[in-house]
Subunit: 519 residues, 2 copies
């Protein structure tokens, strides 16, 4: 992956650089940006205010899109009886079994000062902490759907889910995570596919416009389908280490789930028909994607659309008589900025009055990735001035922080366009990098192996033409790729027609796929 | 409790009346209003779109108040290691032990086509599904608090919690419920008490202004304190059956929790000090309170501030050529109404275009308690008219639905004040009923027993003057009241000075308490 040559004059805020150790850099950004931390509970994280604030922004803007599509929010139980999964296990081969199992409902003293699960309070049927809610929502839909008039039935929930993970990584893979899961039932395949693709397009548009994260929306290969799905679609984003991150999925489930749950309706003609169902979700994983798309060697860079605070005002307090006038001046600017509207919402501005040195506070906000930081001293206040720096243009070539002095009026007048420019610049930078790191023209498995074996640290993605093998032939391809630590990401919906031969089967290619290392 | 004489001409929408069987009436409102239903999972409910929409409104308006107070939202793990509770059990007598215990992290086949917890995947230490997050948040605070500069530390989370309940009731008492829990740490008692009372006042103001539900904010007696708390405060609302509902609590926890969790800070003077902590929460239980405060024999009545849709437009579709013009007319009205602002927010108006008879749809919205319903037919559209009914003025004396015909312009011009009038009328009605059903002047235990033994179905509350006994003396009072199925609710913060003798101890009274049956 192409990297800009480092400027030796710049002393970056983080001690680990992306180019040196991307995985460790990621951990530093998460902790130095005060996004999240280990909780002391295996595989579960504490999401701190700045990280949770970003999630709240994502929730708010995604929820508006979900509601706009006519989907109703509901809430379904955290626990799912074990028997529901037995049903699913029957008809789903790839059934994942790593789940948290509740077996008791009471604690008692162990006689040694400790507590143990009360043997008298063992549940007759164990309960599973939901890893996803298909089964319990399917059961509800079977009650709610009677006639064609009840369709489409479209519900969504914002919830925590648990999948027992052996190796966890904050935001990217945690045992408990937060997500939304949409579940819909339709009269026929056509309606259900339209909804599946609507949700996919909603995620694509959201990733591009809100997260400033370019993605490829496309169909996953057969082997990567959600167990039981007829078709699975994803949005895939390229991280700065060239790996792919699946940032959202949408599934057309056919009638299999409706059959298992008994979601049947009477058609206009009076016949009993099975519904066609879909499900789609995004999670706190998106935040990991934002970090690895936009972060730099000074920490996080948060796109203004999801920044809890877009503009930080840092008064350079001196703990003397001048502070009062300085704070009044800052408060006036805050008020003016808060009246403005950027990216379709009121500007979110924070006057950070906490005790502490302004430069320390500045670096904390740099590492958190606040889009614009203002520093204002007593002399600025007297002269009607401010100093402003954009997080995406942090450094001057001489290694100094790129603060631009200007009148407060000039800053306020330009604030909206500056915020919108940060948003579009982050998107443009990420798109350029993504496009520059997709390699085409590889036509053999050997060439593919050579490409990924080469001593380039972050090789990016390869676009291959293939024959879309299925069954055993596909399994062989998957094994061949696995040996190279590669996976098939998806086939872009808007891909150009295929060309040439499939490097795996030698047959004529029928579509293009992205092959990459992945999170 | 005083009840209006029923009007025999009115045929109410529900088959069960409040006066006949309040508990069954409650269940009917919940199911007929499509608020929630049994999930098939013991003690857990499915919250349906209308019920969840009300919760989303509560969340939005409460969250704004929490943020306004400078409290940061975070997210903490669902699971809490068993050992955290052992610590708490040590120093807390009233430690509740009914909790969901996770003991395994994998399922395997049982060889007979079913699934069982994998014996190989037994957790070394069981995990508890959080019943509340004091312990895990305390552990985080002990990491985050170092010096006086870190205080106050104020966090909140919106989360699901689980308390294993034997007898459940939708919204009022469910094994899983949704809530917010605020947790704060302060340098001294004074700051912590101020925060405890701020949260209480926030809840009181919210209940009155948003839920239109009058409450008494006050201190709980010693025996009703949160285990380990130094002082517990509550808001108490009177339901239409005269029972009390505790609708929110705020606790001053002293330094006990800080000691158990190790929340220590270095003071300005350099000494190591224990922090003083608080916690406060409200839950989906509030929705049960809204139902039992405002519901009537036609179903729910939702205060406009928390109604997902405030105005419903029902076109009387005839499935003929006239429908298009009728829908265009309705859409125009919808657009005009949506531009308005009532109770500080944009008016939420729904044009209900679904198939089905308008009268059926009307009664569905009546039972859901939408504040204002418009019915518009083809002739109305041609003449620029609408028919409107307020949910709080549903019937005419002659037993007809109280639809008022008027020009669309007149309706639109008055819509904001009508919505605000529904909000204030519901509050006034509930306040009047509450005040009329608090009995004073009872000065002996015998008189109290007689009062609650009398054949009045819904006796309301009794305000007693008492001597605030503690310890064993209090326990005796609690037992005496329990024999009458009564509990002490709280001592109002703004109560008048006490008078006379304590009916329990014979000593001079020092404060006034409310005594009532309770949920």
């Amino acid at each position: 992956m192409t990297q800009n040559a480092p400027n030796p004059k710049i002393r970056h805020a983080l001690t680990v650089k992306r180019a040196d150790d991307f995985a460790q850099w990621y951990q530093h950004v998460v902790s130095e940006g005060e996004m999240a931390e280990e909780s002391g509970v295996r595989g579960c994280m504490v999401i701190k205010p700045w990280g949770y604030g970003i999630w709240e922004r994502i929730q708010k803007l995604m929820d508006a899109r979900i509601k706009e599509a006519g989907v109703d929010n509901c809430y379904f139980p955290l626990f799912i009886p074990l028997s529901y999964f037995s049903k699913e296990a029957d008809h789903v081969e790839g059934f994942a079994k790593e789940m948290a199992v509740v077996t008791h409902h009471r604690l008692i003293g162990d006689g040694k000062g400790g507590l143990i699960p009360d043997p008298e309070a063992k549940l007759e049927e164990p309960l599973i902490v939901r890893p996803t809610s298909e089964t319990v929502i399917g059961a509800a839909m079977s009650r709610w759907v009677q006639s064609w008039r009840d369709l489409p039935l479209m519900v969504n929930q914002w919830a925590n889910v648990v999948r027992w993970e052996m190796r966890t990584r904050m935001f990217l893979r945690t045992s408990e995570f937060l997500w939304q899961e949409g579940h819909t039932a339709h009269a026929d395949r056509n309606d259900a596919m339209t909804e599946t693709l609507r949700a996919l397009e909603m995620y694509r548009e959201f990733a591009e416009n809100v997260l400033a994260m370019p993605v490829v929306a496309g169909e996953k290969p057969e082997n990567e389908r959600f167990p039981g799905a007829v078709a699975t679609y994803s949005i895939e984003a390229m991280m700065q280490d060239g790996k792919a991150l699946q940032a959202g999925t949408s599934h057309y489930l056919g009638t299999g789930f409706a059959e298992a749950a008994g979601i049947r309706y009477q058609s206009k003609e009076g016949a009993q028909e099975l519904a066609h169902t879909t499900s789609w979700g995004v999670s706190t994983r998106m935040i990991g994607g934002v970090i690895m798309t936009h972060g730099d060697d000074d920490g996080l860079r948060v796109p203004p659309a999801i920044a809890p605070h877009q503009i930080i005002i840092l008064p350079m307090l001196r703990e003397d008589d001048g502070d009062e006038a300085l704070l009044a001046y800052c408060e006036e600017i805050r008020r003016e900025l808060a009246k403005l509207s950027a990216l379709g919402e009121s500007v979110r501005v924070l006057l950070d009055k906490r005790a502490g040195k302004a430069t320390q506070k500045r670096w904390a906000w740099v590492k958190k990735g606040a889009p614009i930081i203002l520093e204002i001293g007593g002399r600025d206040a007297a002269g009607g001035m401010v100093s402003a720096v954009r997080r995406d243009r942090l450094w001057k070539d001489d290694g100094k922080v790129n603060f631009v002095g200007q009148t407060r009026d000039a800053f306020i007048a330009a604030a909206v366009s500056e915020l919108e420019s940060v948003q579009s610049s982050l998107h443009a930078e990420a798109t350029q990098r993504r496009d520059a790191n997709i390699t085409t023209g590889i036509t053999s498995l050997d060439a593919l192996a050579t490409f990924f074996a080469e001593d380039q640290r972050y090789p990016g993605w390869v676009e291959l033409n293939w024959s879309r093998p299925t069954g055993a032939a596909l399994e062989k391809v998957v094994e061949q790729l696995k040996a190279l630590k590669l996976t098939i990401r998806n086939t872009a919906l808007n891909a150009a027609p295929a060309e040439g031969q499939c490097p795996f089967t030698g047959e004529p290619a029928v579509e293009r796929i992205y092959v990459a290392r992945a999170y």
